[in-house]
């Protein structure tokens, strides 16, 4: 699963441009499930399990990552861009991006030419440009057409004692978990959605959930951890290495209380490391799924990550396995309900 995750992260697929990941997932799902691709580009897959449970169950992960969209050119050949998804400009300056099979860099006025105030002033996204070494707007447009997308050019690698760093772990981690499950014998019939455009407004999940029309859905996601030394324990939200994260609330969803409790009790029963998200922060596809159709009881099980929405998201590999184990154990529980 780790190798799969690294492979998926290496693909460039920001919101609205998920083709590379979709093709790879469809290829890897192969004959393990009945697969269709909907008009928005979501993959919907159905896999027969040991039993047909009373409730229809959907597992969701989003294929897209945060990235950049090329919006204009400066006369001297630099690319203007808009972020796809929420990106802090502080993690963009000094980074390399891939755009149309080429390399671009995001730099600017040399620090030597800034005064003391300018050196410590946070940048805004509007003042950042991508430099592909083009000498004029015409050359830039010819090499990188308007509407092209760019992604962080940062490889995914294992580092430290069991950690991973890379772009796009949000939410290729969820895709890797679902792919791992879809290739197994499952305890019950299960629907899978690999969705588009989570980072730009949960659009894919809204329609995928409408089509799948589940009774119960589980968003398999990443969530933000602030477990750095010096952060008060009541502000760390969740911690790496402490297991899968179960959510009871975020900015988009008040999660079904009973299902949340089931997640915790299943983890306990199966000795799977789990922790609750200890802040109302962020949001994920559950926000769109739980209000789809006639309403869906929804849970979110997330991989805790540091530095989300940067080119170097950090996660712990043990947590990835906890997420997978917990989702599988939850399916076993729901199969007999």
């Amino acid at each position: 699963m780790l190798q799969t995750l690294k492979h998926l992260c290496a693909l460039d697929a920001p919101s609205g441009y998920e083709d590379a990941v979709r093709e790879e997932l469809v290829r890897r799902i192969g004959n393990h499930a009945e697969v269709s691709v909907d008009p928005l580009g979501n993959i919907l897959a159905f896999k027969k399990g040991a039993v047909t449970s009373a409730k229809k169950i959907l597992l969701d992960a989003h294929m897209d990552e945060v990235g950049f969209l090329i919006t204009a050119y400066t006369p001297d050949g630099f690319l203007r861009f808009a972020p796809l998804g929420g990106i802090d400009p502080a993690v963009v300056f000094g980074r390399r991006v891939r755009v149309c099979g080429q390399i671009g860099v995001i730099g600017g006025i040399a620090v030597h030419h800034l005064n003391a105030d300018q050196r410590i002033r946070p940048l805004s996204m509007e003042e950042l440009l991508i430099d592909i070494g083009a000498s004029c707007a015409e050359e830039a447009e010819q090499r990188v057409p308007l509407g092209s997308f760019a992604c962080f050019d940062t490889p995914v690698l294992s580092y430290g004692d069991g950690f991973l760093m890379g772009k796009a772990i949000d939410d290729r981690a969820g895709c890797a978990v679902l792919l791992d499950l879809i290739q197994r014998d499952l305890p019950c019939d299960t629907w899978f959605s690999f969705t588009v455009q989570e980072e730009t407004g949960l659009s894919g999940a809204q329609c995928a959930a409408y089509t799948a029309a589940p009774d119960i859905a589980i968003a398999v996601e990443t969530t933000t951890a602030a477990d750095l030394p010096g952060t008060p324990s009541d502000q760390t939200v969740c911690e790496l290495g402490k297991g899968a994260v179960a959510l009871f609330v975020d900015h988009r969803t008040v999660y079904d209380a009973e299902l949340y409790q089931t997640v915790l009790s299943v983890a306990q029963k199966n000795a799977i490391a789990v922790q609750s998200k200890r802040a109302k922060a962020g949001g994920n596809n559950a926000g769109a799924i739980h209000t789809a159709g006639a309403g869906v009881k929804t849970a979110a099980i997330s991989l805790p990550c540091r530095y989300l929405h940067s080119g170097s998201v950090v996660a712990h590999q043990n947590d990835l396995f906890s997420v997978r184990d917990l989702v599988l154990a939850l399916l076993e529980e729901l199969a007999v309900q």
Partner: protein, 332 residues
């Protein structure tokens, strides 16, 4: 412009640590030079006794040092040289402990930013995440270990290379390339190559290193600002328009005039860089070493100085090397 050998040399130099530069330089130049490393880490290679001409660039780079353990797998660092604080959030680095360790500077994700940040944190305020367990980090990473930006060298176009540390590994590449050209053209010429240490922290080693020998003339090769978006024309040169020949009070007008003449005679594209005070390079120190050394400054135009995405033109490097070569040829 596509010189694969120059590209390979520049990439190797840029990706290396300062400690690895002498081996790369020696490997490139081959035998035929008497080489040694001085007490402060500068590498000196003498051809035919060393002569009176020196070609110089600095081998050190902007870096950080590990100053403390912050708990868990996290470290605190201090900057050596002017680190651009705008580049640090979520920046990947190598920590040179008992071996090379990957690490990343922390950032606050947008989901958790309640108030807009008004001021960038200093290097010492950002935690470095090594992912090492608390019981291993002290043995793996001694205090004082060097931290460098992690950025492999890649090409933007046939001519433009981005990497960390092109300040001044680009200069090192030009000097080494020139040294090889000089030997090929005039095997008997006596000259010295110095790749200086500690420029970014105050040019200490350049002055000391230059004592060693009977150098009367020195050509320093550093990088200077190539115009990028937002920069002022009058503060910058142009990327790809040739080496920038410096004029400054501390520089020898005789050497500078000769460089200008030679560039014109040999159809080597060049730009001027006029500085009314210090050059901010090793030339400032080398010129006043011992009884004085007539010093010229040639700068390779570079964008995004002191970031992990420094950017140079290989044709500028080639032209810099060519200018050094014709200058040396005049000394025969």
């Amino acid at each position: 412009m596509n010189n694969p050998s120059l590209q390979t040399l520049t990439a190797r130099l840029a990706q290396a640590t300062a400690e690895q530069i002498p081996a790369i330089a020696h490997d490139f130049l081959g035998d035929g030079f008497a080489v040694h490393t001085d007490p402060l880490g500068s590498w000196i290679a003498r051809r035919n006794g060393g002569g009176t001409l020196m070609l110089e660039a600095h081998l050190d780079e902007i870096r950080m040092l590990v100053t403390d353990y912050a708990g868990g797998g996290f470290l605190r660092c201090a900057a050596v040289g002017r680190v651009d604080l705008r580049t640090l959030r979520a920046a990947r680095v190598s920590v040179w402990g008992t071996q090379r360790y990957d690490a990343v500077f922390g950032s606050v994700p947008p989901h958790l930013q309640k108030n807009k940040q008004e001021k960038l944190p200093d290097v010492t305020e950002i935690l470095l995440d090594t992912g090492l367990s608390e019981d291993r980090i002290r043995s793996c990473i001694p205090l004082g270990s060097t931290v460098t930006f992690e950025a492999s060298a890649v090409m933007l176009t046939d001519d433009l290379m981005t990497a960390k540390a092109l300040d001044d590994r680009a200069g090192c590449a030009a000097v080494l390339w020139a040294a090889k050209q000089i030997v090929q053209q005039t095997s008997e010429l006596a000259f010295t190559v110095q790749l200086s240490n500690l420029e970014e922290s105050g040019a200490a080693a350049a002055a000391c290193g230059a004592f060693a020998g009977e150098i009367q003339t020195c050509l320093c090769v550093d990088v200077s600002f190539a115009k990028t978006a937002g920069e002022k024309d009058y503060e910058c040169g142009v990327l790809g328009a040739g080496p920038m020949i410096g004029t400054a009070p501390i520089l020898s007008n005789r050497v500078t005039d000769e460089l200008l003449t030679l560039a014109k005679e040999n159809h080597i594209p060049f730009q001027r860089e006029i500085m009314a005070s210090a050059t901010g390079t090793n030339a400032d120190r080398i010129a006043v070493t011992c009884g004085g050394i007539a010093t010229g400054l040639i700068s390779v135009p570079l964008r995004n100085m002191h970031t992990p995405v420094e950017l140079v033109s290989l044709s500028d490097l080639q032209h810099t090397a060519d200018l050094l070569t014709v200058f040396a040829g005049r000394c025969v």
